[in-house]
Every structure is written in C-alpha cells, then in structure tokens.
Symmetry: C2
C-alpha cells in the first residue's frame, strides 16, 4: 500500500481520486472506485438537487466507504445542491474551476471536506486562505475544461505556495504517474480519462473505445474564444467548432449553443461524430477497459515497485 | 550521485543536459555545465560553419569534458555545420524539431552521438528507426518553439514506444522534477529556462530577472497561425504579435518578419518591450541566478534525498 496524508484526511486506502466528471461519474463508477479503496466523486453537473440526492443515496446503497460530490460553481442550483450535500452528510465536496468562496462556510460548518480544483498558483493560495482542506491542481493536459499551465510545472509551484495537501491531476493513468506525482510533492493523484475506461463506467462503449484507440496527439482544445477552453478527442465535432470559432460573424451565443449537450451525446448515445469526446492527452497511454478495482490495484502495485526501486539510482561516490 | 544509462552513454557525471538554446547557449554556459558534470550543448542557431567552429574551439579551451552542438534542421548551412561537427570531433549532436534523416548517416559514421528533440510518439519511433542514440522528448510547457503534448503524458508514452534512452524536457528546474522524470522512465532531464538563470549564461541581466520575477502563468504561446508556436513571457511584443496574428489581412511573411531577430534583441540588448523573452512555464519556480555548478549540485542533492525517501511511502499491510 502507498500511504500519504491524503489517505488519513479522507479515510481512504489508496491516494487515488476519481474526478467528478459530468454525465460519466455516476453511482456505478463512484461506488466501484470507493469500494476499491480510492475516492469516487459523483459528477453533479448542472443537475437539480433532487437528482443529486438520488445519486448520493444510490451510491451509498452500493458502498459504505467515503465518496464525494463535485459541485460546478456555475450550476443554477448551487445553494440547494450544497444543502443536499450537507443533509446527506457527504464526506467530500469537490468544486470546479471558479471561486468557491460562497460554498466554503456552510460546508465547513457541516464538517465536510472541501477540495477545489485549481489551475494556477494564485487560485491555490486564495482557496487555502478560505479554509479548504486540500486542492486538486490540474494541468492543461487533462480532458474537459482546462486551464493554461501544464501539470509538471504546476504541481511543484502549487506545493511551494500552500500547506494543505495537493492532489495532482492532468496526465495520469498509471503507476509511473503516481510515483512521479509523489516525487513532485503531491499527496496523491486524481484521474478522469483513465476511469472512463473501466467496466463500471456507464459511458457508451464507443466513447471508451475512442480513448483506447487514441494516440498522444489525438486531442485538441476548442473554446478559446469563449474564454473556456475544452480538451476533447479530435472528431468532426471539434473540427466544426474550430472552424466556426475562427469566423468573425458567429456570435458567442451561437458557439455556446453549438457546444451544449454534446458531451452527453457522446457519453450516452456513443455519437463519435457530433458528440464532444472529452478526454486528456494521457489517452494514448490507455489501452484497456478493466474493472476499477483491478485498475487501482495495478496502479498501486506498479507505483510501489517504482518507489522501492528509486534509491537504486543513487550511487555513493568512492 | 545519480547514475542512469544516459551517464554511461555520454560519459557525464549527472543525467542533466543543458538545452542548446540559440544566442544563449554560448561557450561560457556550455563549458560551465559540462565542467559541472552535466552535458552542455552549444546553440548553433542559423550561424555559418566558421562561427560554429569557433564556438566549439572556444568551448574546448574552457573544458575537456564532453559537450554537444545543437543543429537546427532549418539552418541554411546544414551540411557544412554537420561537417564542422565531424571535423571537430564533437561528442554529441542534438537536432531540433523536424526530420533529422539527412544528417544521421554522416554523424553516425563519424561516431558522434545523435540526440534529436521530439514532441510526439510518432517522431520518436521514426528517429529511433534511423539509428539515433537517444532522444529528448519535450513537452509544450517548455520555452521557445514547442509541440502540443505536455511533458507528463508525453514521457511515459515515448518510453513505451522506444528502446533508446529518453531525456525528459519541458517543465524541469529542480530535484523534484529530476526524481519525477526518473519515475516516469526517463534516463535524465534537459533544462533550458533554468540554465538561463546562471551566472555564466551571457543572456542580458534583464532577461534573467524577467524569468526570476515570472509566475506560473507568465508565459503565452504565439505563432499558431504560422504552424510554429513559440512560448515566451508575456510582454508588449507578445501582445502585438497576438493581435496581428488575429488580423485577417496580415500575411504570413509579415508575421515572420515581425518575429525575426526578437529573441536576439531580448538576449543581447535586454529589450523586454520589443524582444521575445522565450521561457518555459517552469519560470515561476526559478527564484535565483546561481553558478551552473551550484545549480547542478543542488538539483542532484535534492533529487537524491527524494529518491532515497520514496520507499517510505510504501507501507506493508499487516
């Protein structure tokens, strides 16, 4: 086993967190990850509070281990979803990019562990001052909505800037990545794309296969003009979005409309032509679809072997 | 000391390479890095063969340790510069992005170690088939001309694709990064931005100070329209380039003209307004200007401590 202070804080066996991806991170995947000793996080998305409550209860029926709920700060149901998390005594709340200031006090008071996702040193320092418990520092190689700093330079800069545990995200899929994250000073890793390719994940088989077949350069970012870049696997949808984004006479509203519902289309219908197949640059390292427990055990045992072998690089000079 | 197969291959003490940056990597820096036990690489740039020969001889006057020459594959003097490297019995030739096929056979025949820089798995496999000795796999967080894959996802994918040693580049500045690179399966690291901030580097003090004062989000990429993105620290020059790049009625020739000579202006004149201050996202982790030997010793001893401590994360279950 690999133990860090994150394991103690969250009451989990392995320092591996599953990112709370909208439409993808449902009770099936979340419970499987938490049962396997990691931390599963429900992807709340923009869902209304009753739906989130159902998802929490369904997850609890499947596992008695701790799990979390991701609350995107742009959801129109923000206050109500926070209230549901408090009422249901969720162990962890993760918040997406943005300023979590309004949700921190009620969650803290309820004793819920708060873990915002940040993409820069400035935001990391800001949320630490708000009193959050840990942060996910996510690089721009990750899938979905991204920042602009890559994981490798981001992690040590964030680790130097805050005292709370830093969870590294963006570009992780195996035991080498977990070992590297620990070397950089992180207390664990969060993975998204890799967890899509598990048997328990409800994403359409086409979506999983698209990731398994992807190479290192399979993804592209769109949405820069909207100020919200998104990384997805290149397909007719990303090409169309890119072309329209370059046209001067298309409005931001039209672009937003074009993107709306497209992740769901890919996840639920398996539409690889018109859907948005959000995934990270690590897709090229993902070659199989396995149960979450097998995946976590494989990553931990690979990382253990690497960690144990690291001192052999050090040679004492005669 | 930290030993990898790269040390044996190159006859160096530490698995740390200094990138062959144009205008910056002159005999002063290169000799200091090689004397300190790393591998210094001269930045050949577009210089004519006689100039490269002088630089090689000047470096050799300063050190009898191995060093390299970087040959950009777009230089108009390609064949002649290759010939100079052969005549001067240079230990290592590094090649920049592009297809090194024409230069591999003559350099191989002369027994020179060839290390191309690659930014993708496909190019890594291609250059390995040509018979090169090692590769630098460089992520898009690095300074100057960049690819599109970040270092953390790139390295393990390249390591899995080739048998020759992989040197990780892009996002490295300290011992944590070196330890992380080894965990990912790399045989060493190459650093550019970090080596600019050494006392021996001839870059203008303004340039070094600009890096020291930079934060994690200080850099930006321009030149996407030309198909050759470049990362530099945000300044009036990058803003101007970005604005012009968006204008439909500006030609590619005008954009190229705008960029020409701007790195030299920053390096030699210290012009932080009109110059191109190429630097990586790791700039935010660089806080001082120190001698190359002190820097290398610090990185190695920090990495040694981390490597030795890594097994303590592994707990054997009762």
């Amino acid at each position: 086993m690999i133990k860090t202070r994150l394991c103690t804080m969250l009451g989990i066996t392995h320092p591996i967190i599953q990112g709370g991806m909208a439409w993808v991170a449902t009770p099936e995947l979340v419970a499987a990850v938490s049962e396997a000793g990691g931390l599963g996080i429900l992807g709340g998305g923009n869902a209304p509070p009753d739906y989130v409550r159902d998802q929490i209860r369904e997850t609890r029926r499947r596992t008695d281990k701790p799990f979390g709920v991701n609350i995107p700060l742009f959801t129109p149901y923000l206050d109500d979803v926070v209230q549901v998390c408090i009422e249901e005594r969720v162990a962890v709340v993760a918040t997406g990019a943005g300023n979590p200031a309004p949700v921190v006090p009620p969650l803290k008071e309820a004793g819920i562990v708060i873990i915002p996702v940040v993409g820069s040193v400035a935001l990391a320092k800001r949320v630490e001052r708000m009193g959050v418990d840990a942060i996910v520092a996510e690089g721009m190689e990750s899938g979905g909505h991204i920042g602009d700093v890559a994981t490798l330079p981001l992690i040590p800069q964030v680790v130097d800037a805050v005292d709370i545990p830093v969870i590294a995200a963006g570009g992780f899929a195996d035991g080498r990545g977990l070992a590297a994250a620990l070397a950089l000073g992180a207390a664990g890793i969060q993975m998204g794309t890799r967890f899509i390719c598990t048997t328990e994940c409800i994403a359409h088989h086409n979506y999983k296969e698209k990731i398994v077949r992807a190479n290192d350069r399979a993804t592209i970012t769109t949405g820069h003009r909207l100020g919200h870049p998104v990384r997805a696997i290149k397909n007719p949808m990303t090409r169309k979005f890119q072309e329209l984004e370059r046209e001067a006479d298309i409005s931001e509203e039209e672009l937003i409309e074009l993107g709306t519902g497209k992740l769901r289309l890919a996840v639920e219908q398996g539409d690889m032509v018109n859907g948005s197949v959000m995934a990270g640059q690590i897709s090229g390292l993902i070659h199989d679809i396995v149960p979450a427990q097998e995946l976590i055990e494989r990553i931990v045992s690979e990382a253990e072997a690497i960690l144990n072998q690291m001192p052999s690089y050090v040679i004492h000079q005669e």
